[in-house]
């Protein structure tokens, strides 16, 4: 069932730059299990879009199948959503993005949806550098089909049923980096202070922005022995840096010690400000990003935060050199060559 939230507007709620309250970014009531990490991520998405003053109806929410892929119903109810088929969200998003380059594409997937059945499409969406945000709500299991191991479950991790996963995990952030993704980050559903600025930076990024968000499944994979439980993640988390997202033309209020801060200017003049930066890590250098990931993994830590960003990569529309008008607005006059051209073609075929 889709449960719609009662809507009444409190005149005292704060509004953002375009006059919307945070409520305007909410969706239907979630039907996920109480405490599911995915719901926290939905909340962070609501907050990020509200704070960025994105017009909700200019967002298209794309997803596959799984508990995670259901979440687009639970945020931005004034946006169109497309809950497609298992593992195939990237292709649907590609088509949608080609049809209208002017919308914001927000993709949500699960670790099963992306790292198993949808691996092929995920890989190719990265190669094409679609201008979209791609969030994997990563719980190390198949929530919707009752807790089987996913391909991101760590070797040795134990699920609630007591089963120990014998296979090596696929690190989606590492893979995205390897494949040339133009924005790679990792976060944790339980860390909104990190997740919200990362989501904002991802939304501002003009290419494929991938965020692997560890999101515990309270029902099937939050037990002792699981490496995707709330407790385990909290104990092993390590960040590349603390991330702040500074929107265009906003005043800079906080001050940091000189030398510990790095600012990355984005194409639209917003800023990603990083402080408490890990040593030997440069988010604009793929090798150093790769090293940071490997290094953390070898210590048994989960590296979070912004991992890599490259704003210079051409997105798919730029590569294809498509018109700046959304293709879905073109009409007969532009699209149809007409009878005269056809007569010439006919003549050439005689």
């Amino acid at each position: 069932m889709t449960y719609t939230r009662p809507r009444f507007r409190n005149p005292h709620l704060p509004v953002n730059k375009i006059g919307y309250t945070q409520k305007d970014y909410e969706g239907a009531l979630s039907t996920l299990c109480a405490g599911c990490g995915h719901d926290s991520i939905s909340g962070a998405i609501v907050q990020a879009c509200y704070e960025l003053s994105i017009e909700p109806h200019r967002v298209a929410k794309m997803s596959g199948i799984g508990c995670s892929s259901k979440t687009p119903a639970y945020f931005l109810s004034n946006s169109h959503g497309f809950n497609s088929v298992h593992g195939r969200m990237p292709s649907v998003a590609t088509g949608a993005y080609l049809a209208n380059r002017d919308l914001v594409y927000f993709g949500v997937s699960g670790d099963g949806d992306t790292a198993s059945i949808g691996m092929g499409q995920f890989v190719h969406a990265i190669r094409r550098n679609l201008n979209m945000v791609y969030v994997v709500m990563n719980n190390g299991c198949y929530g919707l089909t009752k807790g089987q191991d996913s391909a991101t479950a760590d070797a040795g991790s134990k699920s609630k049923s007591g089963h120990t996963n014998p296979f090596q995990a696929i690190d989606l952030a590492g893979l995205a980096l390897e494949l040339g993704a133009s924005f790679v980050a990792r976060s944790f559903s339980g860390d909104k202070t990190q997740l919200v600025p990362l989501l904002k930076a991802a939304l501002a990024h003009p290419g494929f922005a991938f965020i692997d968000v560890i999101s515990p499944c309270v029902t099937f994979n939050n037990n002792p022995g699981s490496t995707k439980s709330y407790d385990y993640v909290r104990e092993h988390i390590e960040a590349t840096a603390t991330v702040d997202f500074v929107p265009i033309k906003s005043e800079i209020t906080t001050q940091y010690e000189a030398g510990s801060t790095k600012e990355i200017a984005l194409h639209d003049d917003s800023l990603i400000r990083l402080h408490k930066i890990a040593s030997d890590w440069d988010p604009q250098d793929r090798h150093s990003a790769m090293n940071a990931l490997h290094h953390a993994r070898s210590k048994g830590e989960i590296l979070t935060g912004l991992i890599y960003i490259d704003e210079s990569l051409q997105n798919l529309h730029e590569v294809l050199n498509t018109t700046t008008e959304p293709l879905n607005t073109l009409e007969e006059k532009v699209l149809c060559p007409g009878s005269k051209a056809l007569a010439t073609l006919n003549a050439g075929l005689r």
Partner: protein
């Protein structure tokens, strides 16, 4: 020895080696006959291989205008020693066999009942050219020259064609003309000419054009306003998207900015291709893909989503011989059931069956209108024969006042005027509901598209009543489709008849010829050519009006017959399958034989 004397009525076959440049020489030969105003049908018979294997090119010349394949080879041009034994055996008694006599023909290759025309092609080339590549290429042109002398192709016609072919590379014209003359000269000096089978100028072609179905499909997609194409290469559909690309580059590139008013993506597989098409159509751009049987199998899950979530989708299926990888370069009409019922659950799809390149063009344009009107997948069912061979066809037409039927879409202003939008709420009684494009309105018209069961407002539901109401509405939409898909073409024979013949797609050529041949034997058949699925009422009527219906198909299992029986509830006994499924286009002879056999047993 038997003599076969005929003007403008023969079949000539060229046996070549793949990748030796014979294709353009053979096309030159066929085009010259077309330019002489004589109906001609060329067909490529080629292996799934790039170089080195045998290929054949078969040209039927028919004064009467029959464009189907005909059995029996009157003239064999043998340029491939590898296939020679088989090629010699395939010539009709009294027919001709042209070969390269640089080496003498082995005794075992001599048949008493055919004529041999030996031309020392390699020797001539060695004498005339030094470059090995030229020796190879001009050998082909020399045999065309020889044929022009033997069969009386007008020399100026060939000259003009060469001039057109090498426009921009004029340097190449003279050596090609010279090669033609070498062939002609050799015939003049060594043989009696013309032969008893020969050509004579006519005015039987009219304003028709010579083009392949895949080019016509690609062009149709440009005219239909498709802006997004996604595909994965597969024979025999590849040239559909290639044609779209070529025509779109020509007609859809902004002359000032150089920017493209279209986007083409070579997807990672067919699942992704159809996913992209669905995403683009969902977002209000006309989008399509082209594939063949294996691709249709892969696309099944997505087609079900498009059916159930009601997203316009256009798919062109250029059928080839299955099952599995089958014979990738041979023709069949064997995806009927797979396409009609693609995907699990109660799913069915609108199919169109073009018979000619002109209909490929028209049907692709119609497919986009139907897909958006009906908000469902529409599959254009062509085949390898139609797609990859040139066919003599009516010229393409376009009415400049024609606008695209974008179906029921509520735009920003429409949404302003409604209180509550229901994506799947029926309001017009035709089973078709209103859709919105993402991004249209700040507070109205948004919904979540899903393949899960949904209510009138697109909300997820498992309520039995709501589910049933929704799938029943889809059936009502299916009924609506019956009256708007292209109607069948019915032909009543001069006399009242108990028997009918039913065919579709490329079987048109041989079926119509068979009807004439049978009429000459006093067997008169009314005919119906199917143009689409679901079947319109007149299809059921035609079947009801006849006691026996011969259903002509190019597959083993009589798939269309099954579809007719299943959908119309007709008695299986009255539906007689007439089949050809060896991978070659069906011939009139096959149809006639199977029908006559039936009359003998009734």
């Amino acid at each position: 020895m038997q003599q076969s004397s005929s003007v403008n009525d023969f079949v000539i076959r060229f046996a070549n080696v793949n990748g030796t440049g014979s294709a353009s020489a053979n096309a030159l030969f066929a085009k010259a006959i077309f330019r002489m105003g004589i109906p001609v049908t060329p067909k490529n018979i080629f292996p799934s291989n790039i170089q080195g294997l045998p290929t054949w090119y078969e040209v039927r010349v028919s004064e009467k205008g029959y464009l189907g394949r005909r059995e029996g080879i009157d003239f064999m041009v043998c340029m491939n020693p590898q296939s020679m034994p088989k090629d010699i055996a395939s010539v009709k008694p009294g027919g001709y066999f042209l070969y390269d006599s640089t080496k003498t023909l082995h005794r075992e290759f001599i048949r008493e009942d055919i004529h041999y025309i030996g031309i020392p092609l390699m020797a001539i080339c060695l004498r005339e050219y030094t470059d090995p590549r030229q020796r190879q290429l001009f050998k082909n042109i020399i045999y065309v020259g020889a044929l022009s002398a033997l069969l009386e192709i007008e020399f100026p016609v060939l000259e003009t064609l060469l001039a057109e072919m090498f426009q921009g590379k004029e340097k190449l014209i003279a050596p090609n003309v010279k090669a033609l003359q070498l062939g002609i000269q050799y015939i003049h000096e060594n043989f009696e000419y013309p032969l008893d089978i020969r050509l004579e100028r006519r005015d039987l072609v009219g304003d028709r054009i010579l083009v392949d179905g895949n080019s016509a499909c690609g062009l149709g997609a440009v005219y239909a306003g498709a802006t997004v194409a996604a595909w994965y290469p597969i024979t025999p559909s590849t040239s559909v998207v290639e044609a779209f690309m070529e025509y779109a580059e020509q007609f859809r590139t902004d002359p000032e900015t150089g920017k493209k008013n279209f986007a083409i993506v070579q997807a990672e597989d067919e699942l992704a291709a159809i996913g992209m098409v669905i995403g683009a159509n969902w977002n209000g751009a006309r989008s399509f893909t082209a594939t063949s049987g294996p691709g249709v199998s892969l696309m099944a899950e997505f087609l079900g989503l498009a059916y159930f979530a009601e997203i316009p989708t256009v798919l062109i299926d250029v059928q080839r011989a299955g099952p599995s990888t089958g014979m990738p370069t041979r023709t069949q009409q064997a995806d009927i059931i797979a396409a009609a019922y693609a995907s699990h659950g109660d799913t069915k799809h609108v199919l169109l069956f073009p018979s000619t390149p002109k209909e490929c063009f028209d049907d692709v344009v119609t497919a986009f209108d139907l897909a958006e009107r009906l908000q469902t997948p529409v599959i254009v069912m062509t085949d390898l024969d139609l797609g990859m061979n040139d066919h003599l066809t009516a010229p393409f037409e376009w009415d400049d006042s024609r606008t695209y039927d974008r179906g029921k879409v509520l735009h920003t202003a429409d949404l302003e005027n409604i209180t509550k939008f229901g994506r799947y709420l029926e309001v017009d009684g035709d089973g078709i509901t209103y859709r919105t494009y993402p991004g249209s309105h700040p507070s109205k018209g948004a919904y979540v598209t899903r393949g899960t069961s949904h209510d009138e407002y697109a909300g997820y539901t498992e309520d039995s009543g709501t589910y049933t109401r929704n799938v029943d509405r889809l059936l009502k939409k299916w009924e609506t489709a019956k009256s708007i898909v292209p109607a069948p073409e019915v032909r009543q024979a001069a006399t009242a008849n108990e028997c009918g013949i039913l065919f579709f797609g490329t079987s048109i050529y041989s079926s119509e010829e068979a009807v004439d041949l049978l009429a000459a034997q006093d067997i008169h058949l009314d005919s119906l050519r199917l143009r689409s699925f679901p079947f319109s009422e007149s299809v059921g009527q035609f079947i009801a009006d006849h006691e026996l219906i011969f259903v002509i198909e190019q597959n083993r299992d009589a798939q269309m017959r099954s579809l007719l029986i299943n959908e119309l509830g007709v008695a299986p006994q009255k539906m007689i399958p007439v089949l050809n499924y060896d991978g070659t286009p069906i011939t009139a002879d096959t149809i006639v034989k199977q029908i006559i056999k039936n009359f003998a047993t009734v």
